[in-house]
Amino acid sequence: MERVGSTRLRVLSMVLVALCLAGLVWSRLAYWQVARHGQLGMQAQAQYREVVDLPAIRGAIFDRNLTQLVVNTTVYSAFVSPDQVPAAWRQRVTSALVSVLGADQTTVTTILASPAKFAYISPRRFAKDKADRLTALKLPGVGLEPETQRSYLPGTSSATTLASNLLGFVNYNGDGQYGLEAYYQKALAGTPGYISSYRDLANREIVLGSHTHQDPVNGSDLVLSLDANIQYAAEQALADGVKKYNAESGSVLIMDPTTGGIIASADYPSYNANDFAHTDTALFKDNVSSYVYEPGSVMKVATLAGAINSGAITPGTVINDPGYLNVGGYRIYDWDRKNHGNITYTYVLQDSLNVGAMKAMQAEGHDAFYSYLQGFGLTKPSGIDVAGETTVPPPPAASMADAQYATASFGQGIDVNMVQMLAAVNVIANGGKYAPPHVVDRVGTAINPLLLQPQRQVISPSAAAQMTTMMENVVQHGSGFTSRVKGFELDQTGKTGTSQIPVNGQYTQDVWASFVGFLPAQHPKFTMLVVVRKPHAAGSGSDWTLNDGYITAGPIWQKIAQAMVVDWHITPDPR
């Protein structure tokens, strides 16, 4: 009886031990299968399942003649997994990467000796031929990653691409930087898709396995109002001019008078957008829309046009110009400080006299003058469709001093960007209507809404016609003679501008030299503004007026206009 009891006890204890052991195993199983289920499941999925991004194709950019300005190309970046490169292969891998890609030998050796799992080999983004050569070598631990790159057309030199400051570029992350690429990033980029599929042990994709995918939505193409040929001619003439007059920089902006579409927008110095990674970032800025300057006498076009429209003056109104005018406690002079006696407003514009501009402003009154500044779009951003437009609006009308009104009438003490100024002068060319400046005519198949809106009438067609005649006179008899295009001597308009550059509140001898005009005068095909910053023409050391707009900017305007006349088959109006 006792033996039976002890046997039972033993069996029971064995069962208990077995149960405990089984409990341990079960609890461990439960831990892995229940508590850690989510995490382990994810780890397992990560091993055999892969989500691959399907990038959207970025939209192309075309000019008005449907010349493609930007092309998407596939380039490759090489990477190494140092832990996958056997020690015996390191030397061979290094020499292959150095010879095929031109990589730095020391850098590659250091990378291969490091415990890193992944490293890109510099230089990145090379062409397919190099990728093919590298693939043929079958190097262990070396891989290739295809990437899409934006390739831009060549510019006037190997250091530049066409319209680089206007177009901007796309960085390694696919984000547009500067210019149109940044402004239209959303439309151009589209929406990327993805595909989630299975991979086998050799990391090969099993296409027919169960997978989910979302198709990418490709970006929209842009059709610009730009003309690639005119753009090139403008860049070439500008580069020549800036070098000739030893200037710091220069810009050209050409506009379609009736639509406000930008035909060309050039900056010098510029940069190579295909090599943005090795470019001084200061060159990325678009000086056409992101740089404010004092327009100088070009402003007289807006001042006099407003005064004529308000009925305060006529082109033939006679005024007395002693060479200076006392305003708000300041004595403000003409550029030549000479007594001009009794003169007409036509002569004021022709000879670019500050006293005449101030008297016109005073004749119409401060409020009217300010409202015309608003009407011509000089008090707010132009709204042009490029990234980074910069403006410095004038103070409110009530807080502007008399002297400020006076200087603003001839374009000093007021800051504008080139787009604002050209759009203002374009009002004259467009029969008194303000054409909103824009670069893009179509996004995909949609027309830019700006083109469908009615244009704002700023001054009457008759006032615009009178101002056109006055501006023709500037070319025929005044300072605009340097801009004369053969055959259009009697059929083109122009106005020079020279304004001193202020530094720390003091005007210096350095100037912004500019020239604006349109052609043919009665039926303009284009309006163009040229600005040359800090020119130092030959002999200007002793006579700084040699840097004036008619000497430095006028000839650049003439050269580009000449090219446009030939390229666009423009003929003068019959007389």
Partner: protein, 180 residues
């Protein structure tokens, strides 16, 4: 009352009648027809003919399962192989697209103003600035004016007679050629 309505009303009534009658009558036992599947028939026939024991049945079943598994594996292998082929072709397509992009860039660059000018310069061509333009006068033609009657022949009768004689004697001559 049209035919459709008649039919509908008759059907409803019949259903009502059935439901009333159905409650009284006991439900008739449903006869289930037992059908034997092809596999069952075939296996039983084979077993009868081969005089298989119960182990034989088991082996036969196992064999069938094995064949099915092998068939499945073969099919899966084929699918996987096709999958690899598709992946390879997709990769090839990507490569070709990359080459196409490269060619497109080359083509676009060839037509770029910079390239055109360079080629022109190499060929010895240069752009000549026109020396002047001819200013025209607006042409005084009213395109909206009515066409009007055809002008009559104003040649004198004697001249016509002379011409007729000359033409008859000497044949017609080309006026433009004669003037040269």
């Amino acid at each position: 009352m049209n035919e459709a309505q008649v039919l509908i009303s008759t059907r409803i009534l019949a259903r009502r009648r059935l439901s009333v009658a159905g409650a009284k009558l006991a439900p008739a036992p449903r006869r289930r027809r037992r059908t034997r599947g092809f596999v069952q028939v075939a296996s039983s026939t084979a077993a009868e003919r081969l005089h298989l024991s119960s182990f034989g049945h088991a082996y036969l079943g196992l064999g069938a399962v094995l064949i099915a598994v092998l068939f499945y594996l073969g099919l899966a292998a084929q699918i996987t192989q096709s999958s690899y082929d598709i992946a390879r072709l997709q990769d090839q397509q990507r490569q070709l697209l990359a080459e196409q992009d490269q060619l497109r860039y080359q083509e676009v660059t060839l037509h770029a103003p910079a390239q055109v000018q360079q080629q022109a310069a190499q060929s010895g061509m240069q752009r000549i600035v026109p020396s002047g333009y001819v200013s025209g006068q607006p042409v005084a033609i009213d395109l909206t004016a009515p066409v009007g009657a055809v002008a009559g022949d104003v040649t004198p009768l004697w001249a016509r007679a002379v011409a007729a004689v000359i033409n008859t004697v000497g044949g017609t001559r080309d006026v433009l050629a004669a003037s040269k």
